[in-house]
Amino acid sequence: MTDADVVDTAVLTAWVRHFARLVAEHAEELTALDAAIGDADHGTNMDRGLTAVVAALDGEPPAGAAALLKRVGMTLVSTVGGASGPLYGTAFLRMATAAGDRPALDPAGFAAALRAGLDGVAARGRAEPGDKTLCDAYAPAVDALDEALAAGRPLGEALVAAHAAAERGRDATTPMTARKGRASYLGERSAGHQDPGATSLALMFQAAAAAVR
């Protein structure tokens, strides 16, 4: 939407709104993935939460990046439930903390915030790479983002690379045997199915790339 190298509340809003749209479009697919190795609600959960987030963003505009990210995180925590509520909620709350009192973020600041989000998720979920969770899409995405920015590429391009990495990470969850979350109860029967949380996480990066393009 914007070519900005400045991630301000407008860009963040566009990002989150687009994420909400993508999740709404893919809600059935996310729920179907969750039916195979979980309890058939990931699409419904994320859609409910992001619908509430969009409504919250329609209210009084937040004062800065941190305020916006915090509002998103709190709303997710309060409306999603399940595993994804605290996890996505924590991600945005940690991004808010990382944003500090800056009204807007530069590319490195945005990348740092996203990584803080990942660290928050990993800490909250006690998940490691290879556990077949949304971390398996999130981690390669922020790695790719850092790498592209270090190589001097503009944020828009870097986020496209991050999105591609997220999708590769998402796809890589298919053969994995889950060790965390509900899918872990299936043991080896969880292998052969794509992780629903990794799938929604890739949509989050798709939305970011679209919002900053």
Binding site: D39, T44, N45, G82, S84, G125, L186, R189
Partner: protein, 333 residues
């Protein structure tokens, strides 16, 4: 999907109106989706808060009342409640002696209760302890995974910890009793049919007409393996054997034996299965001290059942026998 609902999005709110209408002795906070015992908070008593996804009724709202829970937080169907609800319930039931959270070991439940406890610690003066149930032997236990699911033992724990709290024991003691129940309880379930999450609109899994799913949880999640349908006698062995293999249930003061219906199995079949389970336990030298047969922790309209055994000592049996007055369990009062 044919269900007695108005709209998949309002199932939980609509059902809570029914709970409120049917049980004037309870108090329902419809905004926060919390069912309270009518006289909460009870001064000086440890408060018991549980909750989880909806679709497991009577768990948990049906276990609110004297001798059992003080509050139950209802999440969306098969989705744990959110921290706001849990914090509100925790604050509301604190009678000054602290609050015990009873949490089933699912990532969602654990994380939401954990965040709630953090918020309660930061923002209220309420002392909170938590106990997590993880009794499902269908799931391999491991330090490197999410561990076992919490299933049937949750019902027994809520009853027994509720009795301990009612006696005026302190938070640590109630939590200790609760952990003892969980540590001595094991469960195993099987399904003849899947269930349909209202918002999903189609069965979570598909089973052929001669197939069953063994080692299921309570969320319509697939189990550990499929096998051909078989007579009740053989299916009872599919439940009893893994439970007995996991813990020694012989000796001592006997067991509390709980055969649970998954929601769509009629009582006549449950009693029939119970007869087979009892025969196998007798043969294995396990003495049944107390029995509970019925649909108490369900998975919507799933057909099937689960077995929970609790190795009970004298004290646990006394607490089990203590008076309870809730919609779903009631005796001694």
């Amino acid at each position: 999907m044919k269900k007695l609902v108005n709209d998949p999005a309002t199932v939980v709110a609509d059902a809570l109106r029914g709970v409120a209408a049917a049980h004037p002795e309870l108090r329902v906070d419809h905004g926060n989706r919390i069912v309270y015992r009518g006289d909460a908070p009870v001064a000086g008593k440890v408060g018991l808060v549980s909750g989880g996804g909806s679709g497991h009724e009577p768990l948990h709202a049906g276990f609110v009342g004297p001798g059992m829970l003080d509050a139950a937080c209802a999440g969306e169907v098969f989705t744990s409640p959110v921290p706001d609800q849990i914090v509100a319930a925790t604050t509301a039931v604190d009678g000054g002696a602290g609050v015990l959270h009873i949490v089933k070991n699912y990532t969602g439940d654990v994380l939401n209760f954990e965040m709630a406890a953090e918020i309660a610690a930061a923002e209220t003066g309420v002392q909170v302890a938590a106990v997590v149930t993880d009794d499902d032997v269908a799931v391999q236990d491991s330090l490197y995974t999410a561990g076992r699911r919490g299933v049937g033992v949750t019902v027994l724990l809520e009853k027994i910890a509720g009795a301990a709290a009612e006696q005026g024991r302190g938070l640590d003691e109630v939590a200790e009793v609760a952990r003892r129940v969980n540590g001595n309880g094991r469960s195993m379930g099987l399904a003849l049919t899947s269930c349909t999450v209202p918002a999903a609109g189609r069965p979570t899994f598909q089973l052929a007409d001669d197939e069953i799913e063994v080692g299921i949880g309570i969320h319509g999640e697939p189990g550990r393996h499929r096998r051909p349908m078989a007579p009740a006698r053989e299916l009872a062995a599919q439940l009893v054997e893994p439970v007995l293999a996991d813990l020694d249930f012989t000796g001592g003061d006997g067991v509390i034996c709980f055969l649970n219906g998954m929601g769509g199995t009629p009582l006549i079949e449950l009693y029939l299965m119970f007869a087979e389970v009892r025969a196998l336990l007798d043969a294995a030298g396990v003495r049944v001290a107390r029995s509970l047969v019925g649909p108490y922790i369900t998975s919507l309209e799933m057909a099937g059942c689960s077995l929970t055994l609790l190795r009970a000592d004298d004290e646990l049996i006394r607490l089990w026998d203590a008076p309870v007055r809730t919609p779903a369990l009631r005796w001694g009062v």
